[in-house]
Subunit: 208 residues, 2 copies
C-alpha cells in the first residue's frame, strides 16, 4: 500500500487550510470568501483571486435565492454534474437545456451556437435563478441579450466561460454592465465548469 | 444584438489557431500535439504545455485502443460528461462507477475515499482501457496500487487530478513509475475534469 491520505473529510479540511494560508483574501468580501476558496480548490490555482470581479452582496444574494428553492441554470452538463446536490438548501432544480432535442433546430434557425440557443428554453426559469456559465462565451453573451430584450432577471450570474474566442470579451461585457444583476466573474481566459460548479456549491449549505 | 462570433465551427477553428500561434509545441511529440492543444483549449492556459509529462507513443497507444472499442474509465461524472460521444471511434463505453450504490459501503470497508473505492468496480474493464482521472488524487494512487496487485493493465493513463492534497504526489508517483503503462500527466496542482475529457476527445476522430 502506498502512503497517502485516504480520509475524504481530512483531505477537504487540509486543502481548504492550505488555500487559506497561501491566498490573500483581504480584497474579497466576507460573503464571497468561501466561494473564492472553493473555486481555488477546484482549479489548483491561488492566483485566480486577483482576477475575480463581483458586485457587493452577490454571495448573499445567491444564498438567499437558493434558500427559496430557485433553480440553478447551467450552460453545460459538466457544470450540472459538478454541483453537489446535497449542498443545495431546498432540493433546488438543476437545469441544463443544452441537450434538449429542440436545441439543434433552434441553433440553426437563430444562426448561433447550440450553447446560446439553449438559453431560449431558460426563459420560464430565469426569474430569481442562479445562472452558472462555465463553458461557452456565446451563452454569456446571449444571456446579456436576453436581459436587454426584457427577459426576467436572475438573482445571480456566475460568469466563468473559458477559452480563446469570446471568453474575455463576454466576461468584460458582464462586468461593464450586468444589467442590474449581481454577478461573480473571472477576468481573462481562465474559467471552466469546475469553477462554476464550485461557486454554486459554495453558496449551498455546509455538506460535506 | 451584441457583436460576437456565433459560428461554432469558426470559434473552434479560430481558438485552435490562436493556441498554435501562441504555444511552443516543439517539445511535444507529433502524436500528442492535438491533445496538448485541446487541453489548452479546455483551460485557457497555454503554459500548461511546460508541465506535460508523457511516455513516447502514448498518443498513438490511446488512439489504437480506442479504435478497437475499449472503454474509457473516468473517476468523475464531470469527466464522463465532458467526453464528446461523437468523437469516439467505436461507440466506446464510457464508465464512471463513482455513483454506483456499492461504492459508499466499499469505501467504508476499505477505509478510503469513494473516488478510490470506485476503482474496485473497474477491475473487469481495465484491460486495454483508457483511464481518465480528472479529479481525485486518491483514484490515481489507487490505480497504481491495483497495478502493483496485478490488475490488468490499461492501454493509457491520463493523469490529471487537481488540487492541494495528493495531486502533485499522485502524479509524480505515476511519472516516476507508471508500471509499464503509457501515460500523459500534468505536473503540479493544476488539472481537472475538463482537461481529462479534452485529452480523451483529442484521441478520437475529427468531429466536430
Amino acid at each position: 500500500m502506498m502512503d497517502y491520505n485516504r480520509n475524504a473529510h481530512d483531505i477537504y479540511r487540509q486543502s481548504f487550510a492550505i488555500i487559506r494560508a497561501e491566498t490573500d483574501l483581504s480584497a474579497i468580501p466576507e460573503d464571497l470568501q468561501d466561494l473564492a476558496v472553493r473555486m481555488i480548490h477546484a482549479c489548483g490555482m491561488t492566483d485566480i483571486v486577483q482576477d475575480l470581479a463581483f458586485t457587493p452582496g452577490s454571495g448573499a444574494a445567491g444564498r438567499k435565492t437558493l434558500a427559496e428553492g430557485t433553480p440553478v441554470l447551467c450552460d453545460s452538463r459538466m457544470v450540472a454534474e459538478g454541483i453537489t446536490r446535497a449542498r443545495l438548501p431546498a432540493d433546488n432544480p438543476i437545469l441544463c437545456t443544452l441537450n434538449d432535442p429542440q436545441v439543434p433546430e433552434l441553433a440553426a434557425r437563430l444562426g448561433t451556437t447550440r450553447a446560446a440557443a439553449a438559453l431560449e428554453l431558460w426563459r420560464p426559469h430565469l426569474d430569481g435563478a442562479v445562472v452558472a456559465i462555465g463553458n461557452a462565451p456565446t451563452a454569456l453573451f446571449r444571456l446579456l441579450e436576453l436581459l436587454d430584450e426584457g427577459a426576467p432577471k436572475p438573482a445571480l450570474i456566475l460568469g466563468f466561460p473559458v477559452g480563446f474566442v469570446g471568453a474575455v470579451e463576454s466576461k468584460e461585457a458582464l462586468i461593464a454592465d450586468s444589467r442590474g444583476v449581481p454577478f461573480v466573474a473571472l477576468r481573462g481566459r481562465r474559467g471552466g465548469s469546475a469553477m462554476a460548479a464550485a461557486a454554486v456549491n459554495a453558496l449551498g449549505r455546509d455538506h460535506p
